[in-house]
C-alpha cells in the first residue's frame, strides 16, 4: 500500500489529470477524422468505390460495437445485418435504463476506441516495446498529467520509429500496415453517402454525443463517482493502475491518429492520380511497389545501415517524382487537340482559303 499525503491536490485534482489528457487526445483524433472526411468528400465524385469501401469499414466497426454493446448487457443478438450502406443489429430483449444507455454508449464511443484497442493489441506483437507506464512519486495533478504525457510521448516515439523502419519484406509488418490502413479508413463513425442527407462534420458527432450524455445526467454522475472511487482505491493500493488505464485509452487515440495520418498519404496519392492521364493512373501505385523492391534488392548486393528506412525514403521520393512528372506531362498536352486544328476546320467547313484572305 502506498503512503499518500493528505492534500486536496492529491485527493481531488489529480484524479482529473489523466481524464483531461485522454479527452485532449480524443479531441485531437476527432480533428484528424474531420480532416479525413473533408478529403474523402472531395474525392467522392471520382472515387465513389473507394468512399463506399471506407463507408463499409466504418459501418462494420459501428455494427460490431453495437453488437458488442448488446452482448455486454446480455440483451442477446436476434439479427445482424451488414451492407455497404448500413448495418443493423437487433437485440433479443430490449432493455431499458442503464443497460440501454450502455448500449448507446457502445454505439457512440465504440467506433473511436474498440477497433483502436484491437489494433493496439496487434501492435504489441509487432512493436513489442514502448508500452511504458509512468512512475509517480507525489501523486499530484501536475505529476499525473506529466506522467500521462511522458507515457504518450514514449509510445508515440516508438510507434513512429516502427513506421519509419518498417520492413515491407516482412509479411507481419505488411499485414500490420494493412490493418492500420483499414482501421484508419474506417474509424470515422459518420457515413459519407451518395446523397448528403445529414451533416457529417465533427460538430454533428459532438452534438450526438452531447445529446446522449445530457439525456441521462444521473448516469454520468454515477460514472464519475465510480471512477472517483476507483481513483481513490488505486491511490491507496497502487496509484499506477489509474493512470495506466487512462494511458491505454490515450494510446488508442494515438494509434488512431497514426492510422489517420497514414490514410492521408493514400488519399493524397489517389487525389494526385486524378491529375494524371487515365492510362497512366496506375503508374504511381506501381512505382510504390517497384521502387521499394528494387531498393531492397539493391541493398542486398550493396549492404548498408538503415536499409529499411532508406528503401522507404527511395520509395516515397520516387513516387512523388513520378507523380509530379506525370501530372506535368498531362499539363503540357492540355492545349493540344487529338485531331489537328486544320483538319477540324476543314470538317466544319470553316477553313480559310487564300481567296477569302484576299477578300
Amino acid at each position: 500500500m502506498a503512503t499518500v499525503p493528505l492534500d486536496i491536490d492529491v485527493l481531488f485534482a489529480a484524479a482529473f489529470a489523466p481524464v483531461i489528457g485522454v479527452v485532449a487526445f480524443w479531441f485531437l483524433q476527432l480533428v484528424f477524422i474531420e480532416l479525413q472526411k473533408r478529403m474523402l468528400l472531395r474525392l467522392r465524385h471520382r472515387h465513389d468505390a473507394f468512399c463506399r469501401f471506407t463507408n463499409f469499414i466504418g459501418v462494420l466497426f459501428q455494427t460490431i460495437c453495437h453488437a458488442l454493446g448488446y452482448t455486454v448487457t446480455r440483451s442477446g443478438i436476434a439479427s445482424f445485418q451488414l451492407t455497404v450502406n448500413y448495418g443493423k443489429v437487433e437485440p433479443r430483449k430490449e432493455k431499458t435504463g442503464v443497460l440501454e444507455w450502455i448500449v448507446d454508449s457502445f454505439l457512440l464511443f465504440g467506433p473511436f476506441f474498440i477497433p483502436a484497442g484491437f489494433v493496439l493489441l496487434a501492435s504489441y506483437f509487432v512493436i513489442g516495446k514502448g508500452f511504458a507506464f509512468p512512475t509517480l512519486v507525489h501523486y499530484t495533478f501536475l505529476e499525473s498529467l506529466t506522467g500521462f504525457g511522458v507515457s504518450m510521448s514514449a509510445f508515440a516515439s516508438t510507434f513512429a520509429n516502427f513506421l519509419i523502419t518498417i520492413d515491407l519484406f516482412n509479411p507481419l509488418h505488411v499485414g500490420f500496415l494493412f490493418v492500420l490502413l483499414f482501421f484508419g479508413l474506417g474509424i470515422r463513425p459518420s457515413y459519407i453517402g451518395e446523397e448528403r442527407k445529414e451533416k457529417i462534420d465533427m460538430i454533428h458527432d459532438l452534438i450526438l454525443i452531447k445529446n446522449h450524455l445530457v439525456k441521462k445526467p444521473l448516469y454520468i454522475l454515477a460514472f464519475i463517482v465510480i471512477f472517483y472511487v476507483f481513483y481513490l482505491l488505486s491511490l491507496f493500493l497502487n496509484p499506477l493502475v489509474y493512470v495506466a488505464v487512462f494511458s491505454i485509452l490515450g494510446w488508442m487515440s494515438l494509434t488512431a491518429i497514426f492510422a489517420l495520418l497514414l490514410t492521408y498519404l493514400v488519399i493524397g496519392l489517389i487525389k494526385a492520380t486524378d491529375g494524371i492521364r487515365t492510362r497512366w493512373m496506375a503508374a504511381p501505385f506501381i512505382t510504390v511497389i517497384v521502387s521499394y523492391v528494387l531498393a531492397r534488392v539493391f541493398f542486398i548486393y550493396y549492404p548498408m545501415k538503415h536499409v529499411e528506412s532508406v528503401s522507404l525514403l527511395v520509395m516515397i521520393v520516387s513516387t512523388i517524382v513520378i507523380t509530379i512528372l506525370l501530372i506535368k506531362y498531362k499539363k503540357t498536352n492540355r492545349f493540344k487537340t487529338e485531331k489537328k486544328m486544320k483538319h477540324v476546320r476543314v470538317a466544319d467547313g470553316k477553313k480559310r482559303t487564300s481567296k477569302k484572305r484576299a477578300g
Binding site: R52, V84, N85, P171
Partner: protein, 369 residues
C-alpha cells in the same frame, strides 16, 4: 454481336461482360499462392526462424507443399469443388518436377518464390482470359449468354420464359457496383442444389468379434445457381441492369399479339380524343360557326359530283382561303387525324385478311384433295 445473329425486329439494348473483380474467388487462389510463396521465402531467409530450415534443403519445400495442399483440401470442402485441391496438387507437382529436372535443390526457397510468382501470374492471365470470353447481350426479345475459352457455350432465354429472377451482390459487388443476376427459366434452368453430407463410422473389437456401425445423413437445398456463362455474372452497373431486365420481363408478360392489339387500341383512343378536343374547340368558337356551316353547305353539292375532281379541289382551296386561319387549322388537323386513322385501320385488316385468305386457301386445298 453480328447483325445477322439477331432475329427479326430484334434490337440490342445492352452488351455486357463481367466486372474484372467479379471472379475474385478464382483470383484468390492465385493470390494465396503468391502470398504463401513470399511468406515461405521470408521464413526461410529473413525471419527469426531461419535456423529451423537450415538442417535440410527440402524443409522449405515440404512446408510449402503441405500448407498448399492443406489449404487446397479446406477450400475444396468449403466450396464443394475438388478441382481446387487438384489445382494446388498440380502446382506442387509442377514445382517438384522443376526442381528435379533442373537440379535446383540448393536454393529451394528462392525457387519457391519465383515459381509462386510465375504460377500466380499465369493463373491471373487464365482467369482474365476466361472473364473476357463472357459476353451477355440483352436485346428487346431475349438475353443471350456467351462464354468459354476453348468450348464456346451459349444460352438464350426469351423474356416470356423467365419464371423468376435471382439477384445477388456481395461486399465487393456493393463497393464496386457489380452483381450477378440469374434468370431462372420455367423449366428450372438456373436452379441447382447445395448438398451437404455427414457420415461417421466406428469399428469395435480387435481379433475376431468386430462390431461396425455407420451413420450418415444428407441435406439438399434448392438454390439459384448457374455457371458464369449461363447467368449475368458480375455485371456492371448492377442496379441499372437489374432494372432493365426486370422492366423488359414485365413488358413481355402478355403475348406479342395482345401487345399489338393493345397498341392499336391505344392509337385509336388517342386519335378519337384528339378529334373530340378539336371538335370542342371548333364548337366553342361561336362567331365563326356560321361561316363554317356555310362552307359545309357549299361543300355538300360539290361532293355529290365526284367526276369533276379538279374543280372541287380548286373550290376547296378557295373555301379554305375564305375560312378564318384558326378554323382552317382545326380542319386541317382533323383531316390529318382521319388520314392517320384510315392508315391504321387499313394496316390492321390487311393482316387479318391475309390470314383469312391463307385459311381459305388451306380449306380450298383440302376440298380439292
Amino acid at each position: 454481336m453480328e447483325r445477322k445473329e439477331l432475329l427479326k425486329n430484334e434490337q440490342v439494348e445492352r452488351v455486357l461482360s463481367p466486372h474484372p473483380l467479379s471472379f475474385m474467388k478464382l483470383q484468390a487462389l492465385s493470390i494465396f499462392v503468391i502470398v504463401w510463396g513470399i511468406v515461405v521465402w521470408w521464413l526461410t531467409k529473413f525471419s527469426a526462424y531461419t535456423s529451423l530450415f537450415t538442417g535440410n534443403n527440402w524443409y522449405p519445400l515440404i512446408l510449402w507443399g503441405l500448407v498448399l495442399l492443406l489449404i487446397g483440401v479446406v477450400a475444396s470442402l468449403v466450396a464443394i469443388q475438388w478441382s481446387i485441391f487438384f489445382l494446388y496438387l498440380g502446382v506442387f507437382a509442377g514445382g517438384l518436377g522443376f526442381i528435379f529436372w533442373q537440379h535446383w535443390e540448393k536454393d529451394i526457397s528462392l525457387f519457391i518464390l519465383v515459381y509462386s510468382i510465375a504460377v500466380s501470374i499465369v493463373g491471373f492471365l487464365i482467369v482474365e482470359l476466361y472473364r473476357r470470353s463472357h459476353r451477355y447481350i440483352i436485346t428487346n426479345l431475349r438475353i443471350i449468354f456467351k462464354g468459354g475459352v476453348l468450348t464456346k457455350r451459349e444460352r438464350t432465354i426469351r423474356y416470356d420464359k423467365i419464371a423468376d429472377i435471382d439477384a445477388k451482390q456481395g461486399i465487393l459487388g456493393q463497393i464496386f457496383g457489380f452483381g450477378t443476376i440469374i434468370p431462372v427459366s420455367q423449366s428450372g434452368f438456373g436452379l441447382g442444389s447445395d448438398k451437404t453430407m455427414a457420415a461417421g463410422g466406428i469399428a469395435l473389437g480387435t481379433k475376431k468379434a468386430k462390431l461396425f456401425g455407420f451413420a450418415g445423413g444428407g441435406k439438399e437445398v434448392q438454390t439459384p445457381i448457374a455457371r458464369s456463362y449461363y447467368e449475368l455474372h458480375g455485371v456492371y452497373p448492377y442496379k441499372e441492369v437489374k432494372q432493365l431486365v426486370e422492366g423488359i420481363v414485365q413488358t413481355h408478360v402478355p403475348t406479342q399479339y395482345q401487345q399489338e392489339q393493345v397498341e392499336f387500341q391505344k392509337q385509336q383512343v388517342d386519335i378519337q380524343t384528339q378529334m373530340r378536343d378539336l371538335l370542342h374547340k371548333q364548337v366553342s368558337d361561336k362567331p365563326r360557326r356560321k361561316t363554317v356551316r356555310q362552307t359545309a353547305e357549299e361543300e355538300e353539292p360539290e361532293e355529290e359530283e365526284p367526276e369533276e375532281e379538279k374543280v372541287t379541289m380548286k373550290k376547296a382551296v378557295t373555301q379554305e382561303d375564305t375560312l378564318p386561319p384558326e378554323q382552317a387549322d382545326i380542319q386541317q388537323q382533323m383531316k390529318d387525324l382521319l388520314k392517320k386513322q384510315r392508315t391504321v385501320r387499313v394496316a390492321e385488316p390487311e393482316e387479318e385478311e391475309s390470314e383469312e385468305e391463307e385459311e381459305e386457301s388451306k380449306e380450298e386445298g383440302k376440298e380439292v384433295a
